[in-house]
């Protein structure tokens, strides 16, 4: 405290001393000039000194007064500067000043944390182009900030719309930052005062929230979808079974009327199988949607041939020919137990949607490359009823399109697409004869090759 007091008085004393020295110099000049004038017989010497003192004393007082006022004003200015400097330096945000040439004139210490630099003096005096070039990955920000500055300095208003940007760190990772700029004028010089805030945590929280919303929406859609299946599809199956049993009972009431009870029993049996298949497909779709059914190396041809054999046995009552054309003995991919469901669904669809007395299905296997990836290409040609162009995408969609009132061809193809996509493969349908759907369909599968 004493030290501060002495220090203050020391400053004041030094200023006063300087002023006194100035006065003495002025006195000396005055004295010299008066001597010269006296020598030139222009003034009287004795009277001159008395007059001098009468003038000097008030002048001295004025000097002291001006000095005191100056000191007070300077003190206030210094205190005010200190206060705002303190705010600037201790702000939790990165605050700085840029001139019209993009040179960083000043900034606070937060800059070193955000830009991963040693001290702020490393960047003060540098152009923003240089600053962003410190990290190769941040060079993309240069044109963005140049535009930002241009809009600020040349724009109609004093403020530019704030924006978010990603800053890559030299230590790895990145920060999300939010910048606001204000155009100011200091000593007739236009400058941009900017404030940059670290919003990385906020962005992470937003991303988690979006992910959470997406999961909720997907779960809700799934629940609606399964609810719809049970409300609609199961009811249809049960209706067929009920009608079948009621029709079957009629000959028992009136034996003179002949009904083919065996045919009726077949219809009921088919509906029960259909119901069981629906439940099975729903179970598999549900399993596909859960995280990761593990994939392993599988020989496609073996699975295909086993499925063809199973389908042929299941449809012994139909005139059915299924041919597999492949020049290779083994075709490997990474898949799982659901691969047989893919082939089974496609083969059964081809059989069901066929009004010909003789059902012909040919599976041609070749190779194809798409975007640098090697695939096994499987084309399933049938001589069935074909698929209208308007339905070629819809048949792979799940269930019912409420807006269009159109019902897809059941869950089977939605399941097939879902399975193929888990293998990173693709599936679509074409006409067997291009432009003439009445000649049948060609279901095309691309399944990634594996050595």
């Amino acid at each position: 405290m004493l030290f501060l007091l002495l220090s203050r008085w020391k400053n004041l004393f030094s200023i006063v001393l300087k002023r006194l020295l100035l006065i003495l110099v002025i006195l000396f000049i005055f004295h010299t000039v008066s001597n010269i004038l006296e020598w030139l017989y222009l003034v009287d010497a004795a009277d001159t000194y008395g007059d001098y003192f009468q003038i000097l004393i008030p002048v001295l007082w004025i000097f002291f007064f001006i000095t005191y006022i100056q000191k007070i004003t300077e003190k206030k200015r210094t205190e005010s500067e200190k206060k705002y400097r303190h705010l600037f330096d201790t702000s939790p945000y990165f605050v700085g000043l840029i001139d019209t040439k993009g040179v960083l004139l000043d900034c606070n210490d937060v800059s070193s944390e955000i830009l991963s630099i040693h001290i702020k003096e490393d960047i003060i005096g540098k152009n923003i182009t240089e600053i962003f070039s410190l990290n190769e990955k941040n060079k993309y920000l240069i044109p963005i900030f140049e535009k930002f500055m241009k809009n600020m300095f040349e724009g109609a208003g004093t403020n530019q719309e704030p924006f978010d940007f990603q800053l890559n760190r030299s230590t790895g990772g990145y920060l999300w930052l939010y910048i606001e700029g204000t155009l100011i004028e200091i000593e007739k010089r236009k400058l941009i005062q900017f404030i940059i805030q670290d919003i990385t945590e906020r962005k992470k929280a937003e991303k988690e929230l979006l992910k959470s919303e997406k999961m909720y929406r997907e779960a809700y859609n799934r629940a609606e979808f399964y609810k719809d299946i049970f409300a609609h599809d199961i009811n249809n199956i049960l209706q067929s079974i009920l009608s079948g049993t009621q029709i079957g009972q009629l000959p028992l009431d009136d034996p003179e009327k002949f009904y083919d009870l065996k045919l009726n029993a077949e219809i009921i049996k088919e509906q029960v199988i259909r119901g069981a298949k629906l439940v099975d497909n729903v179970r598999k779709l549900s399993k596909l949607e859960e995280a990761g059914e593990s994939l392993e190396k599988v020989d496609i041809l073996t699975v295909l041939k086993n499925t063809v054999s199973f389908v042929e046995k299941s449809y012994k009552n139909k005139s059915l020919t299924i041919r597999v054309d492949s020049i290779e003995e083994k075709l490997f991919t990474t898949a799982n137990e659901f691969l047989k469901d893919v082939f089974e669904n496609l083969l059964i669809n081809a059989i069901r949607h066929n009004k010909n007395p003789m059902i012909e299905i040919t599976i041609r296997i070749s190779r194809e490359q798409d975007l640098g990836i090697n695939y096994h290409k499987m084309e399933l040609f049938d001589n069935g009823i074909g698929v209208d162009d308007s339905m070629k995408n819809k048949i792979f969609q799940r269930g019912y399109n409420k807006d269009k009132g159109v019902y897809g061809m059941g869950l089977g193809l939605a399941l097939v697409r879902g399975i193929i996509e888990t293998y990173n493969g693709k599936i679509w349908v074409e006409d067997r004869v291009m432009g003439d759907r009445s000649k049948g369909s060609n279901f095309v599968l691309l399944i990634p090759e594996v050595d």
Binding site: N235, N236, Q239, L242, S243, G405, Y407
Partner: protein, 101 residues
């Protein structure tokens, strides 16, 4: 079995319209499903009723969310699945009785 003759069967809305148009002596009653490939029962019914306003369309559907809409476009009745044959025959009888030649 109830004395009625099935004039035609369609597997989707477009086929239903085509078959209906092909008859010179139009059927009196149509049993219409709602959810079908290519064209829904509602869309097909709107067009069929424009061709012949007398026809009685009985909706048989497991999707009863369209019940009000079906009735508002002029369907005669909407029967929720699951129904018995007796209920179906009764509905057909009502439709025939109300048919105006």
């Amino acid at each position: 079995m109830s004395g009625y003759k099935v004039a035609g069967i369609a597997s989707n809305g477009i086929e239903a319209i085509s078959i209906f148009k092909s008859f010179s002596n139009k059927p009196k009653v149509i049993l219409m499903d709602q959810r079908m490939p290519e064209m829904s029962g509602l869309e097909a019914s709107k067009i069929i009723l424009q061709i012949d306003t007398r026809v009685k369309i009985i909706f048989l559907s497991a999707d009863n969310s369209v019940k009000q809409e079906a009735l508002s476009i002029g369907a005669f009745e909407f029967i929720d699945k699951i129904f018995t044959i007796k209920e179906l025959i009764s509905a057909i009888n009502r439709a025939i009785e109300s048919y105006t030649f």
